[in-house]
């Protein structure tokens, strides 16, 4: 078993299968290799407007033309920035689609292979990733500030400054 990073929320322990911590360049490699990556974002973006996470997600999306699902209450803010997410959908409803191998995606071209999560209410992200871990065959990547044990890959716990650096480095390493 790999070395374990302590989850940020102290109750979230005792998993047998837990996320591997990746540094931004390694994470970028996973995303660069993906054939059909998808981003999903949640209410954390609207709560931390001062961090400009909307602009960040738009930039991230533009690198590889990654579709974005607007969960929580995020769609409006994207539209205000002239960016159109591919769907408005709750995170668990999205995972419900992702766990069905026959689902053809939002564009009808097939199931996604990598799901990148940012800003979902932590407890809910945790549950969504639990469902994905057990019932979907997708690689999940958490790029939130704190370690997310149920993802396939996650950043480790960090300060806001470190996290922003991680985010920027991830973006810089994505293929244009």
């Amino acid at each position: 078993m790999e070395d374990r990073v302590v989850p940020w929320q102290i109750g979230n322990i005792a998993y047998s299968t837990h996320a591997k911590v990746l540094y931004p360049p390694e994470m970028a490699r996973v995303i660069n290799r993906a054939k059909r990556p998808l981003i999903v974002v949640g209410s954390g973006l609207t709560e931390k407007l001062e961090l400009n996470l909307f602009d960040y997600v738009i930039e991230l999306s533009k690198t590889r033309n990654l579709p974005v699902v607007a969960s929580g209450n995020t769609y409006k803010e994207f539209i205000a920035r002239n960016f159109k997410p591919v769907a408005i959908l709750g995170i668990l409803e999205l995972i419900n689609l992702i766990k069905d191998q026959n689902w053809r995606g939002f564009d009808g071209k097939g199931q996604y292979d990598v799901l990148i999560l940012l800003g979902i209410f932590p407890l809910l992200a945790n549950q969504a990733l639990f469902a994905a871990k057990h019932f979907a065959s997708i690689i999940t990547i958490s790029i939130d500030q704190h370690y997310e044990p149920n993802a396939t890959f996650s950043f480790s716990n960090s300060t806001v400054e470190e996290w922003k650096e991680n985010l920027n480095e991830l973006c810089a390493n994505l293929k244009k």
Partner: protein
Amino acid sequence: MKNSIMKNYDKSTTSDLLIKGEGLEVYIGEIAEETWKEEKIGPTPEPNVTALREWDFKLLKRYPPFYSPVCDLCCLCTTGKCDLSKGRKGACGIDIKTQQARVSLLTSCMGTSAHAGHARHLLEHLIEKYGPTHPIDLGLNIEVEAPLIRLVLGIRPKKLIDLRKPVDYVEKQLIHLMSATNIGQEKSHLDFESKALHAGMLDLIALEVADIAQIVSLKMPKADPEAPLVDFGLGTVDTSKPVVLCIGHNVLPAASVAEYLEKTGLNDRVEICGVCCTAQDIARINPKAKVIGSLARQLYAVKSGIADVIIVDEQCVRTDTMEEAQKIKSVVIATNDKICMGLPNRTDDDPDKTVEELVNGVIPGALILDPEVVGEVAVKAALRLSDQRAQFKKLIKKEELIELAKKCTECQMCNRACPNNLPVYEGMRLAKEGYLEKLAEIYELCIGCGRCEVECKTKLPIISMLSKAGEKSFKDEKYKLRCGRGPIQDVEIRNVGRPIVFGEIPGVIAFAGCPNYPKSGKELVEIAEEFLKRRYIIVATGCSAMSLAMHKDEEGKTIYEKYPGNFDAGGIVNLGSCVTNSHAAGAAVKIASIFARRPLRANYEVISDYILNRIGAVGIVWGIMAQKAFAITTGLNRLGIPIIFGPYGSRFRRLFLGRKDLPENWEIYDYRTKEKMLGEPAPEHLSCVVETKEEAIVMAARLCIRPNDTAIGRKIKLSHYIDLSKKYLGETPSDLDLYVRSENDIPITIKEEVLQFLSAKGWKPRKIPLDPTILDPAKLHPSLLRPE
């Protein structure tokens, strides 16, 4: 009655002889059911575990269970722990999905047991006190007194003792359900879920028994839309007086305090207040009682030190109540066999002797199982303790708070412990400099779990610090709550049945559940008010009903002061404590039976099918903590009522999610023509989770859509759905084409816009079932649909 509630019941169980009091009261026979001649018994009286399996499977096919485990492991037997991740099976052969379904059944059974235990305790006490033949009279305007009992058992209870049969039935069924969770029993996740749905149905029966029994015996409001407005909030308690604080769900001990105060003329000398559902219910008996608030305020109320005596009854009582009470030198009286707290049993002792022991610290608390004794002991002890405890009734001083904050080591463990990610550490940092605003903000958002305090290695009294910081709102916590009115009148059902079923009243939205909200409870008020302005009917119960009272508008009015309390468009109805969730379900059943005249008696499938396809009702359970809430929602699901959970709902592991992208999942019959046709995803889910209030609002509008809506009704529902989606999410709903059956459904004012949207989607009109059902018409005997 002393220790004897359950003993007496054991002796007289379903027998036909019951002796009461000193004189002899003999009651022969329990339910004279044969008097119900007008309505033929339906196909499923007292359904056993598998009797409604076919109905469940219909629901489960449309709404397959979606699982989000909370652990990779199973640790339910000694061979484990078993790792069920990555497709592994446990030593007993179970996989992760089936294990989740098993836990779903377990959770449902836990909740149902709690309610059934409550119902039994209450009922037996009330039978003993008021007599077995005490009539079930819910007021002039209620003939269908127990819609759920009629529906499930096929009986019409007339007297208190008639309520025994439903409780007997629930208890027996529960044993079979629990037995299926033992190792080596049920194998299929769908069958586990069918059983969980069965448990949910039983839960609602238990709730109905409990509330009917207490309304008819304890003089609670009987379906009164103008039930009194009562004082609500921590700030309403006069702490200069002796204070008795009641916590829990079973109103009997609190009722005995109220009775004792009345009897001894001490009403104005002693404050009686409550937290959680006991508070709601005591206010239904004594409008002078103060309702402090929901479960989220329990720890705050106890730690505030205002209570001289703390009475706990059952359910939702914090396990550390005794420990916390000792810190503030309050005494605790446990009153129920479910919560004895290790305390010495003083039920049969002389009350004055017990008071003496409590006041002198000989015992920290007492177990008193006879509610009639509790009132006397609690009041006498509070009167004696109040003065000597004065020092504990104060908040800490601002200077003390700042000094304490200075001890904070900034380890951030409090933040990491907080289930809502509240920035306690940041609050402490600012408090060191004398700025308390951040901590005050946290007080507003805190769900009172106390985990931060447990984790703090410096042992800072974080809750007390938050109370001080939030002092202004703490003191200002004075609101008006309309006290629980109990069931909906038959006449109200007659008035709204048609507009609801045809869709002209766009929906009924019921707020239920616990107060562990993802953010402020104010969001609940915002959601409710959005729908009230749009003339939906709002129903509320339990802690949600209390949270709805916890905010005032600019004019200082709470939502209960602004909107009427009747079950009609634009009305907000506080039904009462958690047990009144049965009346929310009962109202839906009554619409089918009173307005649509569907035979009700033991006709579960037909009635549920009616509700699913015609009654635009949806529950919003914005917080959920207790297993009981899971059982309630599962029971509503079986009846065809969808539920929207806040984020915490995902932690109960199971949802019933529909797939609107798969048209074949939505096939429906038209009973009139017996034709099978493609239907619409209405309602889309049977239970789902959303992250934000914006999503909840739009989801609620969507889940109110039903196949039976008339074109006028559908126009109204769609205009709200479109408008709310634009307002809160920023766009016309992308699934709009699925809900427009013909051009007649399109709201006139936005017809052009909608037509454009539809043409881009390649939309075509489709057939509308005149008499929509998911039951196979070939198997439906007409007598099940129309009274003979």
